[in-house]
Each structure stands twice: as structure tokens, then as C-alpha cells.
Symmetry: C2
Subunit: 137 residues, 2 copies
DNA sequence: ATAAGGTCTGTAGCAACTACAGACTCAAGA
DNA sequence: TCTTGAGTCTGTAGTTGCTACAGACCTTAT
């Protein structure tokens, strides 16, 4: 099938390879309305162009940064309408950043407890274990 | 209905309040075999005792520390058989700790990118936004 | 012509819950 | 005694974000 961009139009697997996205995930994003429905060949195959590549990259990059699908949907709606403002986007980003920091704090708390407890383990072939005691407490 | 421990035996809502667990989650843990099936009253109501309280606390504490249901199932199987050793439990804990640290690292990476990008925002009512540019890149 | 691969659809599965509908039971007040 | 309100029962569906099938097409290369 050859992966060179022949004139124009990518098939689904090509878009997947191009963006690093999973094949099925592309169809999923279309189903939930994150990706526009692409035109089809006469036999029903999806045909993607540069706008689809850009859109998918936007989603993937957003997901990498931990934005939820709904957050990204909101961002994209603004952009699609051309009504986005830096103020609004920054507010969403700051909110998301706060969520991320809260998650980090939570994981650090967990890490502390686990590390402190595991440090008390003898690591021997004995039934007593500080970890189990911590869970049973 | 009164929430004092009348002689012995808690109903489901009492166990929930006692442990801070969600009402439905108790039934869920029973369904997936994390909690033993409790005895029932003549009319079919579940009746819990101290062993159920202890078991549920174990699960909830483990979940708070980020252990998966399957990890906890493994731990509990060992304990139920009395075959657990500190060595084995410590190994599971260390593995889990490594997972937690990996998650922290990932979130910190995200935090850095978000903070750095948001810091470049003007925050004004203008359409250009560094966050959107970062997502589109 | 045929075989191998790509694509199509719909659907089911994952984790770990959470919530609801509709039926039943139980205890207390009028 | 009747009623009312709360608690409980069951099964099932929804959540988030994918991922992976099955079975039917289509396309391409040999």
C-alpha cells in the first residue's frame, strides 16, 4: 500500500502512523465528535487531509498534557468559532494546572507513606509485615 | 433506625457510615469477590460483623494508597491463606511504589509544560494564545 | 485468479466504581 | 391498625478513554 503521501489524502492507518495515534482511537474520536467526519472514497474508505492531521495532533497533544476530552472539546469549540481569547484559554489551563498539582500532591502523600512503611520491612521470610499492618490499621 | 451497634451485626448503610465507604461500593466489592458474602436476615438483609469491617477497611486503605483491586486481591489471598511473607509483600509494595513514582514524574513533566506555557499568556482578550500554539505544534 | 492485507461496521471489554428503578421490608406515629 | 417514610434488595446502565475483536467487504500484488 505504500506510505508516501500520494498527492493528497491519507487512509486511516496512514493517519495513525503519521500521528502516532492508535488506529481504532481515530474512529473513536470521530464517533464522539472530536474529529470531523472525513469524506469517503466510492467504496466507503475514510480519506483524511492536513486539517484532520492538525486536529488529531491537537487532541493527542492535549491528552498528553492531561486535558480531558471534554476540556479539549471546549477548547476546540472556541477555536472553531474563532471566539477564543487568551484570557479564557489561560483560565482553563490554570484550572487544569491546579488539578495536576493536586494529583501530584496526592501521589506524593502516597509515595511518602509507602516508602516509610516499606523501609520498615525486614524483607525476610516472616509473616509479620509493616505494610500489612499499615493496611489493617 | 439508630446507628448504635445493637448487640452485633451491621446493616449495609451502617457499615458504609462506619468505614466511610460508599453504600453501593460495598455490594460491588462483594460481587467481585473482594468481600465475603455476609449472612442474611430472614428477609434477606445483609448482616456484617467485625471481620467485614476489618476486611473493608483493608481494601479502602489499600485503595487510598493507590493499590489496584487486583493487587489487593493478591495481598488478601496471601493473608487469608496465612502464607504471606514480608519479603513477598515488600516486593509488591516496591513495585507499586515504582509505579507511583513514575506517575509523579509524568505529572511533573505535564506541570512544567503547562506552567511554562501559561506563564507566556498575556491573559488579554486577544485571540493569540501560547497554550493553543503549544497544542497545535 | 487468488492470496494477503487494509478497511468497514457494530459491539464488547477494561478499571473501579456510582447511581438508578422497581420491589420489598421494617419501625414508628396517628 | 394503617400508613408513611426510610432502609434494603436485585439487576442493570452509566462514567472516562480508549482498545480489540468478528465478520464482511475492498484493494493490491503476484
Amino acid at each position: 500500500m505504500g506510505d508516501h503521501v500520494s498527492g493528497k489524502g491519507l487512509k486511516r492507518a496512514q493517519l495513525a502512523r503519521w500521528t502516532g495515534c492508535n488506529l481504532e482511537t481515530i474512529r473513536y474520536y470521530e464517533k464522539i465528535g472530536m474529529m470531523p467526519e472525513p469524506p469517503r472514497t466510492a467504496s466507503g474508505y475514510r480519506v483524511y487531509d492536513a486539517t484532520h492531521v492538525a486536529r488529531l495532533r491537537f487532541i493527542l497533544r492535549g491528552r498528553e498534557l492531561g486535558f480531558s476530552i471534554e476540556e479539549l472539546r471546549g477548547l476546540m469549540r472556541l477555536v472553531d468559532r474563532g471566539t477564543q481569547t487568551c484570557a479564557e484559554v489561560k483560565a482553563m489551563t490554570d484550572q487544569h494546572l491546579a488539578d495536576v498539582r493536586a494529583k501530584i500532591a496526592d501521589l506524593k502523600r502516597i509515595e511518602k507513606v509507602l516508602a516509610a512503611t516499606a523501609a520498615q520491612c525486614s524483607g525476610e521470610e516472616v509473616p509479620e509485615c509493616p505494610v500489612l499492618e499499615a493496611l489493617a490499621s
